[in-house]
């Protein structure tokens, strides 16, 4: 059977039509019912799938080449469309005419026109904001536009496409000013069609640093041209945010859409766009930016890049807190700023030190952490304070901050805000010798501040990529610790040793080697530490690589699971409450290989027989 071709299995020829194949399959399938003859049915089904797919291709007018088992090739020419198998036009019609159970008048009136899935957004964005009138028709245009974006067009791709189309309209002419403005606005509107884009800071950065967008924003006719178009609220608001300052959207009753009132005097606008424009205005001069502290004497191109970086930083600092005023113009003392935030957020009466089991307490604690981080962000984002360790120390001396520091979330939240290397280094310095700032192997460009490995005597693991060498080093550390403790190890030391071992396994991805995993899991000390309550409490807080977390979780208990943090891209082990810690006794038993167990048993038996024999005598 196994050497038969699909056609032989179905008793048809490669030239058979789809109808013949179906008929043959139906006949054979009834003889070999899947319930009673699963194996035969599977073969039939596989054969049917192959034959029918080829027959379908031929029915669609394609030529198929089939290589026979003796190596000869058969060319199966396309066949005329088989009317029996093709959807019959009249049957489709009739199903449409069937009287519906529900009131379907509405659905019948649907306009057939908007079938094209990828509609150009440009044509309909000006009437999008108009309210649908009560006509008996559903308009899915908004959904379609969203799909267009979901269909995979990245905003930048969309921008390129729009540029290309505009270019193709008059290939030999450069873009007119009006066109530039329109492309920029279309680009902006497109970003707003999908929340995945509009919530992504990178996409907005990309937008704001686009050459054409900068050109458009700096054109004298920009505002006038934009207001000719008429915008939706979201688009108008985004545009105002891009320009900054006192820009605001204005509703226009006549066109039922939004216009914008742009503030071209804002410092942000001048820094971001006017300084970078290369067409109408002179290239940027060093003095335009008040932000420049670490000035340099590079070429204008480098200066541009540098400025870009600064702008990103500045934006980040700006988005950290909406309430913050322009930091560069009027620097408020960090303490005063913190106090202001506390007052604004109604935290002045909140006492975090007496925990209460209610929702309010939890919510306020979370808000307090955020406020403290905002305080920190204020220092880090302000030129006057950001390089002075004095302010960081003042920050850490604050009673509330002292309390918040105890939370596990504190450092995590600091790291989430993505501060730069210098800031984090100063913070680590201020936090004390237990802390340091650095990168992790898999995120070389991202700096984190973290607590150093808990061991005081830093083991010399370095980069031990060889699992056996790692294990050797680990055993050496145990010996060292034993010598130091003069005999048995305390649970605390055991725990720290294992946690560090685990840390190295995870950090250098050594766990991926089977042998490393086996040595780790079979180590008696590891097994002992796994039974600790403390281990259970601590392990769930350790960020791990995904597969390692899974291995570890399943090793700990089969009911354990892992969760993935989208923000830090790390996994954590989740131990459900009902899961009990593994017990040591069971593990000890399995320590002995079965063969040794058998040997022991045999010896015991022999001794017993001997004793019995001796006694009998």
């Amino acid at each position: 059977m196994s050497h038969q071709t699909p056609w032989e299995i179905l008793n048809v020829t490669p030239e058979s039509s789809l109808a013949e194949i179906k008929k043959a399959y139906a006949k054979l399938a009834k003889e070999n019912n899947p319930e009673e003859h699963p194996d035969e049915f599977r073969k039939l089904n596989d054969a049917y799938k192959s034959c029918s797919s080829i027959a379908k291709l031929r029915a669609k007018g394609q030529t198929v080449v089939v290589v026979q088992k003796d190596g000869t090739k058969t060319v199966l020419a396309s066949i005329e469309k088989d009317k029996e198998n093709e959807p019959d036009a009249s049957s489709v019609e009739s199903s449409e005419e069937k009287t519906p159970d529900f009131d379907f008048n509405v659905t019948e009136d649907i306009p057939q026109e908007p079938r094209a899935p990828k509609r150009d957004l440009g044509e309909d964005f000006d009437n999008d904001s108009v309210e649908y009138d009560n006509a008996n028709a559903f308009d899915f245009s908004e959904i379609n536009s969203e799909e267009a974006s979901n269909d995979g067009l990245d905003p930048l791709d969309f921008f390129n496409k729009t540029c290309y189309e505009t270019h193709m309209a008059h290939p030999n002419k450069p873009f007119s000013d009006e066109e530039i403005v329109r492309i920029a606005i279309k680009y902006l509107c497109y970003i707003n069609t999908d929340s995945n884009f509009s919530h992504n800071k990178m996409i907005w950065e990309q937008f704001k640093h686009n050459r054409l967008v900068v050109d458009a924003f700096t054109l004298p006719i920009f505002e006038e041209e934009v207001n000719k178009i008429g915008l939706r609220y979201n688009d108008a608001k985004s545009l105002c945010m891009c320009i900054g300052g006192k820009s605001k959207p204005v509703f226009d009753n006549k066109t039922n859409s939004y216009k914008v009132d742009l503030d071209f005097t804002s410092q942000y606008y001048i820094d971001t766009y006017m300084s970078r424009v290369h067409r109408n205005v002179k290239p940027a001069t060093e003095e335009t930016s008040s932000e420049k502290t670490n000035s340099d004497e590079s070429t204008s191109e480098d200066a541009n890049d540098l400025k870009k970086k600064e702008i990103i930083e500045e934006n980040e600092a700006k988005t950290e807190s909406d309430t913050k005023t322009d930091t560069s113009s009027d620097p408020m003392l960090p303490e005063a700023y913190f106090e202001k935030l506390i007052n604004e957020r109604n935290l002045q009466d909140f006492d975090p030190k007496t925990p209460q089991a209610d929702f309010d307490y939890a919510a306020k604690s979370a808000l307090l952490i955020d406020t403290v981080i905002d305080y920190f962000a204020y220092i880090a984002g302000n030129d006057t304070y950001k390089n002075e360790i004095f302010y960081y120390n003042r920050f850490l001396d604050n009673e509330l901050v002292k309390h918040v520091r105890k939370y596990d979330a504190f450092l995590g939240k600091i790291n989430q805000r993505r501060f730069d290397q210098e800031t984090l280094k100063i913070l680590a310095e201020a936090l004390g010798k237990d802390y340091e700032a650095g990168t992790f192997p898999n995120t070389p460009n991202q700096f984190y501040v973290y607590r150093k490995a808990p061991n005081q005597t830093e083991p010399d693991y370095k980069k031990l990529s060889d699992p056996l060498a790692l294990h050797k080093e680990y055993l050496r550390q145990i010996e060292l610790a034993k010598n130091k403790a003069e005999g048995s190890l305390s649970n605390d030391v055991k725990f720290q040793l294992i946690m560090h071992y685990l840390f190295i396994l995870n950090r250098d991805e050594i766990y991926k080697r089977q042998i490393a995993w086996d040595t780790f899991t079979n180590d008696p000390l590891v097994r002992e530490v796994f039974t600790f309550k403390r281990f259970r409490n601590e392990i769930v807080k350790v960020p791990l690589k995904g597969d390692f977390a899974l291995l570890l979780a399943k090793f700990y208990h089969k009911n354990c699971d892992i969760k993935f943090s989208d923000k830090t891209k790390e996994c954590f082990i989740v131990i459900p409450d009902k899961v009990k810690a593994p017990t040591l006794n069971v593990k000890k038993e399995s320590k002995l290989p079965p063969r040794t167990q058998l040997l022991l048993l045999l010896t015991l038996l022999t001794i017993m027989i001997l004793i019995a024999y001796l006694l009998a005598r």
Binding site: A26, N45, S95, V106, F138, I515, D547
Partner: protein, 560 residues
């Protein structure tokens, strides 16, 4: 001993039996075919309430009533009911127990076996949980049927088994399933399935409820549980009303203040654009998986409660360019299909020739280490949409020379990232003869129609190990299952006779909450009268008070 087909839905459950050579919907004690999938606990009478009574109590006793637990099937989520932790398994088994009782009363004989329909997109864990729930309720379930397959079966049963290709869209209360089905000569062949387990009619309700709050200046999170439930209820009502007319007005009294908001179908489309756009993705996926185009489809069949919405139908027509078939009753199609399938399983002579193949909705594979990068990735052996039964094999190599053992972890899912898939279990195999070269290992997987996966491992000398993964594998230990079984067996569910009265009381309490001062007084008076009559033991007095209260409620709610 009878066998029934059950559609265990997110919002409603239905059962079908075979009577007089045709599938018949089983009616419950209220003479209705659908039983709401809601479970509650009545503290006063210390009984569990299931179905219509529990549904009425959703507003008045939100803390003691649980609904939509099907959405959590297969996840270890816990609900609190009667100070006890309940899972979606135990809650489903209360519903199934109720259905079983109703079916037994309807048929007059014991029911011990059932075919239950599940969304095609349910993974193994969710499927085994469904089976476990049935087992706990005292029903033997050898086979589950995918909801779209059931819908196809009932469509074909009533329309004839012509040679055609159908696109079946099952848009229910909590799930969306799309499947492509080919039929000819009494053969039903499922070609592809796709779906979204977290999209359903409930999402429309939520959007409408949010819109109501936004328009009335209310903050949803700040509302009392009762008020929230009330808003969800009127949102659902508005949605249902919009199926029949272009616009509707939602009114509610919250904390003594009247609010009313109007909504029409165009507004609904605007509000729910996100939901609509999610409907399209599985349709595209199915067509792509089956390598076919919309032009090859002969008919589109819409089933599930949400497909009654004209906007949904219009949207389907919009994206496919074809008007959906309306000959199938969206509410009962799946249950009927399950009933027909139960009869096929019973080898009824009339249906003997119908052959239905199913497919596995997820890919199955093993975790492997990529030799180039060292990354641990999933290597798929059985791809999704393979017809069942299915056997496939693949060859792998050991990672290092002199390797002594191999660990084979079986995963279900579509992600290349191992941890994103569902782990079904693992095999540890010791290699008898470690060699200096890397060894070749062949892994063969067989997945059969009952959801049993057999993994067979061979090296160059032959068989070295195998393992059977039954769908029945659960995380629960036999003791835990036994404990649950005892609990469900012992749980007193409201009897069929008392249920009628309980429903009326629950309804009166709900209407009381929904109405204003004057009406409240009347309802209260009638309700007290009715409650008093219940203790009097006089059948005549009870009937009188029952009719009086019922007429009053009908009047207030406008259903005469």
């Amino acid at each position: 001993m009878a066998i029934i087909g059950i559609d265990l839905g997110t919002t409603n459950s239905l059962a079908v039996c075979w009577k007089n050579d045709k599938p018949v919907l089983i009616r419950n004690s209220f003479n209705e075919t659908s039983t709401p999938s809601v479970v509650g606990y009545d503290k006063e009478n210390e009984t569990y309430v299931v179905g219509a009574v529990a549904n009425e109590r959703l507003i008045t006793h939100p803390n003691d009533t649980i609904s939509e637990f099907k959405r959590c099937m297969g996840q270890n989520m816990e609900f609190m009911l009667n100070n006890r932790k309940e899972t979606s398994v135990s809650l489903s088994s209360y519903v199934l127990k109720k259905i079983k009782e109703d079916a037994e009363a309807f048929l007059g004989e014991e029911v011990d076996e059932a075919i239950i329909s599940v969304p095609a997109y349910f993974n193994d864990k969710a499927r085994s949980d469904t089976k476990l729930a049935a087992e706990l309720a005292g029903l033997r379930v050898d086979r589950l049927i995918n909801e779209p397959s059931a819908a196809a079966l009932s469509y074909l049963y009533s329309n004839g088994f012509e040679d055609q290709t159908l696109l079946i869209i099952d848009f229910g209360g909590g799930t969306l399933d799309v499947s492509l089905v080919e039929t000819f000569d009494n053969i039903i062949e499922i070609l592809a399935v796709a779906g979204n387990n977290e999209l359903g009619g409930k999402d429309f309700n939520e959007v409408i409820a949010e819109y109501f709050c936004k328009q009335s200046g209310l903050v949803m999170d700040a509302l009392r549980l009762q008020d929230k439930a009330l808003i969800y209820k009127i949102a659902e009502k508005a949605k249902i009303h919009l199926s029949k007319s272009m616009s509707t007005i939602m009114t509610a009294t919250i904390e003594g203040k009247d609010y009313s908001v109007s909504i029409d179908n165009n507004k609904l489309i605007k509000l729910c654009s996100n939901i609509f756009s999610k409907i399209k993705a599985p349709i595209d996926k199915v067509l792509r998986d089956a390598r076919t185009t919309i032009d090859d489809i002969d008919d589109i069949v819409l089933v599930g409660g949400s497909s009654k919405m004209p906007t949904v139908r219009a949207f389907i027509k919009e994206v496919t360019g074809k008007a959906p078939n309306t000959n199938v009753n969206p509410d009962t199609a799946i249950a009927l299909g399950a009933g027909i399938f139960a009869e096929i399983k019973n080898r009824n002579m009339d249906l003997k020739d119908i052959i239905m193949t199913d497919i596995c909705p997820f890919s199955l594979g093993v975790a492997t280490c990529d030799s180039m990068t060292g990354d641990i990735i999933t290597e798929f052996i059985i791809n999704r949409n393979s017809s069942l039964p299915c056997t496939r094999q693949k060859t792998f190599y050991t990672m290092s020379p002199m390797q002594e053992s191999i660990r084979i972890q079986i995963y279900q899912g579509e992600s290349i990232v191992v941890s994103k898939n569902l782990c079904l279990g693992e095999l540890m195999i010791d290699l008898a003869h470690p060699t200096k070269e890397k060894q070749m290992i062949t892994i063969k997987m067989s997945y059969d129609i009952n959801g049993i996966l057999i993994v067979d491992v061979e090296d160059k000398d032959g068989h070295i190990g195998d393992k059977v993964f039954m769908s029945k594998d659960t995380d629960l230990s036999p003791e835990e299952i036994n404990k649950m079984r005892e609990r469900i067996k012992a749980a007193s569910i409201l009897g069929r006779e008392e249920e009628k009265n309980a429903l009326l009381i629950a309804r009166a309490e709900r209407v009381f909450e929904e109405s204003l001062e004057q009406e409240r007084q009347i309802i209260l008076a009638f309700l007290m009268q009715f409650k008093a009559s219940l203790t009097s033991n006089s059948l005549k007095a009870i009937n009188e008070a029952y009719t009086k209260l019922k007429d009053l409620l009908d009047n207030i709610e406008g259903r005469n």
